[in-house]
Amino acid sequence: MSSPAGIVAISLVCLVTVGIGAFGLRLSRTTSDFYVAGRSVTAGWNASAIGGEYLSAASFLGVAGLVYSLGVDMLWFPVGYTVGYLVLLVLVAAPLRRSGAYTLPDFAEARLESRFVRSLASGLVVGIGWLYLIPQFQGAGLALATVTGASPSLGNLVVALVVVANVVAGGMRSITLVQAVQYWIKLTAIAVPAFVLLAFWARQGGPAPAADLSRTWGQVLGGFGGREHPVYSTYSTILALCFGTMGLPHVLVRFYTNPDGRAARRTTLVVVGLLGVFYLFTPVYGVLGRIYLPTLPAAVRPDSVTLLLPQVVTPGTLGALLSAILAGGAFAAFLSTASGLTISVAGVIDQDLLAPRLHHRGGGDVSRIQTFRLAAIVAVVIPYAASLLTVNTSLADTVGLAFAVAASTFCPLLILGVWWRRLSVVGAAAGLVTGGTLALSATTITVLGRPGVTHSGWLSALLAQPAAWTMPIAFAVTILVSLATPSRIPPGTARTMVRLHAPEDTRSSGAAPS
């Protein structure tokens, strides 16, 4: 199955990414044509950057794999991935920007004025980041294995090394422009082959999927891919994806670049559009796969259907070329998401765990860059090790679990933090601990549990899609504990709330708008 064109495409993507990371973008101007106002990142660029970092290997390969293997009900996944930004836009985008927070622990500290809640949030950011990184490594390993024919575990190792090299060489840079370009690369890589394949499909008279399959596969709202308790699973997944997006570590970081709350909202709106366009194409591969690849070769995961499809539809050079484009795109998707996540996770490990301790030990001799590099290695090694474990869940399902954990922890913290003045320190901490423990246990059991023991009945449905019960419990615990401990409401709450909600230009007292 090895294809030289694919190897070239992947190597090129790696080289370009690491190169840009290492050298950065040097945009220098002299005063004559320099105006700061004109140099702000526009909503369009920033939205492209968010899209570039957000569209992961799970989106690029996983959605098609899910639609292919489990049916059109799986379209809820791309819908949920996008709608998450709508929820973010409506509920928290502008207040989050106005809070001045750069990371989620920053927001926790700014709103609750508590180091303890900050540490809890830091731990959760690391946990969610790792959970999200596992499927990234698996997806990239898969792409590499499909293209080169090497074993997937070797693929995982190669990509872990590339990510470490990228993050370490790039220092701590995460340049908006680079990530923005990544989005357009990914969109091209997924759209162009899709159009070509659709043209072939149309020329052949538009055949439908095999009749015996379409009964269960094509049934809309029929059974969430033949799982038990489809209604529960569907709603729980939608809930996780809608409310989990705001709690992903690498999303808030980009909001900081917006000049003000209004720009943050505009950016989110553009993100919804950009993601919507991208997700139009991924299901196409799942459906075409059903037509041209009724059965997969042995020992091939459905997640690789996108990569196999062109070779089947048009064997020969064109097919190889399209495969190479898709493999390159998948790799770009993986690299940008994994690098963004690694930078976020490593930033938190560095800032909240490693730097204070090393500073303490080394008496200030340890430089920031060194501790950040150490943190980056820690941030990659653990999910890499976990990605080698035999896992029961598909790429998109594991990502779904990361969303569920985020929805059960940061979603209550953010929504109540932004909209409820009576949130207390104890309540927020209790909510984070409860939601985090429940969702993480459910995730661990689902991902590592033995098939057969935990994979039947209500219990398995509840554990596989935990958001529908963990999120309300986390909300309830946060609210009840907050009501029980009114003395622990942060003293500066009223001031913080004004800052979060008042538009920036109303706060400039007396000064004319500049």
Binding site: R26, L27, S28, R29, T30, T31, F34, Y35, V36, A37, R39, S40, V41, G100, A101, Y102, T103, D106, E109, A110, E113, S151, P152, S153, N156, G171, M172, R173, S174, I175, T176, Y256, T257, N258, P259, I343, G347, D350, Q351, G364, R368, F372, V381, I382, A385, A386, S387, L388, L389, T390, R499, E504, D505, R507, S508, S509, A511, S514
Partner: protein
């Protein structure tokens, strides 16, 4: 070996390392040679916890949290803190004696002398109540009795009296420290106000002179420059908060540079390389401006030919790094060191002031780093965190 077994080995190894580290630390903490060691450790631990709560002064919340530690240090049955407004906090048994305390504390607040309470002062109808006697010791800050520390027990010995007095003296020190903290903040604010007024009078004079020279030859340019000058002064003399965004500060530096270029013309070449990601960072108001002014002065004033000034702002993830560099005459590192250490009064453009304000806002690792040597130009670098609790840019 299969990949999954490698993974299991790796994860087990990680868990073992973490657990062993934790257990070793716990053992090290728990392993005391003798009971004396343990008692010393526990007293010091309580003291450090209590000191943390007293950081913000003797507020009811702080008193509430401190009294538990105070009681464990004294080993008495109940401990209370009271001031002229009433009882601040009570920890331990016998909460029903709380109401009697203000009247008993009154003489201590006035005289500042320790009082031992016995039978006639403390009456209790409950025969099981252990509150039979007590000590009231004054907490003195700045030569005023600000509060009274009360310790209760079935009987009061000379030991408890001495201990209570010592503890009250210790609280006095903590309260004074908190007061000192507050005064330091006030001082910082005053210094900021002073810096604002410090916009160099020479600059204003030179500026107006340069504009005047254009009034006849190029009235349009003169008008533009005057408007820039008006905007510059509005920013420099504004009455907003202590912090601004890097965006606003840079915008003002642009105005400043336009005005300077009117004076120097082709002799001043400025290059700015700004990562747009760091524009929203909150920095102390007028913290970059003096550095740029310094660079322009040193890059040009006593130098023949063209002077270059470079301003960089780079994104470093959770922090932003700002660098101002010139290729001027440079300076003696020892002089700069003295200025930054606050030992020298020759702080012309407020380098030491900027350094002090950065440290006060973000901590000691965020001060100015100056690289210079005679004839080799000057490079000033500092890093600001993208987020710091309590620091917000006000427009």
């Amino acid at each position: 070996m299969t990949p999954s077994s490698i993974a299991v080995v790796l994860m087990v190894a990680a868990v073992v390392v973490v657990v062993t580290g934790g257990v070793l630390r716990l053992l090290r903490r728990r392993r005391f040679v003798s009971d004396v060691d343990r008692a010393t450790y526990e007293t010091l631990h309580s003291a450090s916890l209590a000191a943390r709560h007293l950081r913000s002064g003797l507020t009811p919340q702080a008193a509430e949290r401190t009294t538990r530690q105070l009681r464990s240090m004294l080993g008495s049955r109940a401990v209370a803190l009271s001031d002229s407004s009433g009882v601040l906090a009570w920890d331990g048994v016998g909460d029903h004696h709380r109401l009697d305390l203000p009247a008993l504390a009154e003489p201590v607040l006035i005289s500042g002398a320790t009082v031992v309470l016995t039978d006639p002062d403390i009456v209790c109808s409950d025969p099981d109540c252990p509150i039979r006697s007590g000590v009231l010791a004054p907490v003195v800050a700045d030569e005023h009795v600000v509060a009274v520390l009360a310790a209760y027990g079935p009987s009061v010995g000379a030991g408890l009296v001495r201990a209570t007095e010592e503890l009250a003296a210790w609280i006095s020190t903590q309260v004074e420290l908190a007061e000192l903290d507050r005064q330091r903040t006030h001082l910082m604010e005053a210094e900021l106000r002073a810096l604002r007024a410090q916009i160099s009078p020479h600059f204003i004079y030179n500026c107006l002179g340069a504009i005047a020279s254009f009034v006849r030859t190029d009235p349009d340019r003169a008008r533009e420059l005057l408007l820039e000058f008006a905007d510059f002064t509005r920013y420099a003399f504004r009455r907003g908060g202590a912090y601004t965004t890097l965006r606003d500060e840079l915008r003002n530096i642009e105005r400043y540079l336009v005005l300077e270029q009117a004076r120097f013309g082709e002799r001043l070449i400025v290059q700015l390389t700004i990562a747009p990601e760091v524009l929203p960072v909150a920095i102390p108001f007028l913290s970059v401006q003096p550095l740029v002014e310094n660079a322009v002065r040193h890059g040009l004033a006593s130098k023949q030919g063209v002077g270059h000034v470079t301003i960089h702002a780079v994104d470093l993830g959770t922090t932003a790094e700002i660098t101002i560099e010139d290729d001027g005459v440079g300076g003696d590192p020892e002089v700069i060191r003295a200025v930054l250490a606050g030992e020298s009064a020759e702080d012309g453009v407020g380098l030491g002031n900027v350094d002090a304000r950065l440290r006060a806002a973000f901590g000691d690792q965020h001060g100015l780093v100056v690289e210079t040597a005679p004839g080799a130009g000057t490079k000033v670098t500092f890093r600001v965190p993208k987020f710091a609790p309590g620091i917000h840019a006000e427009p």
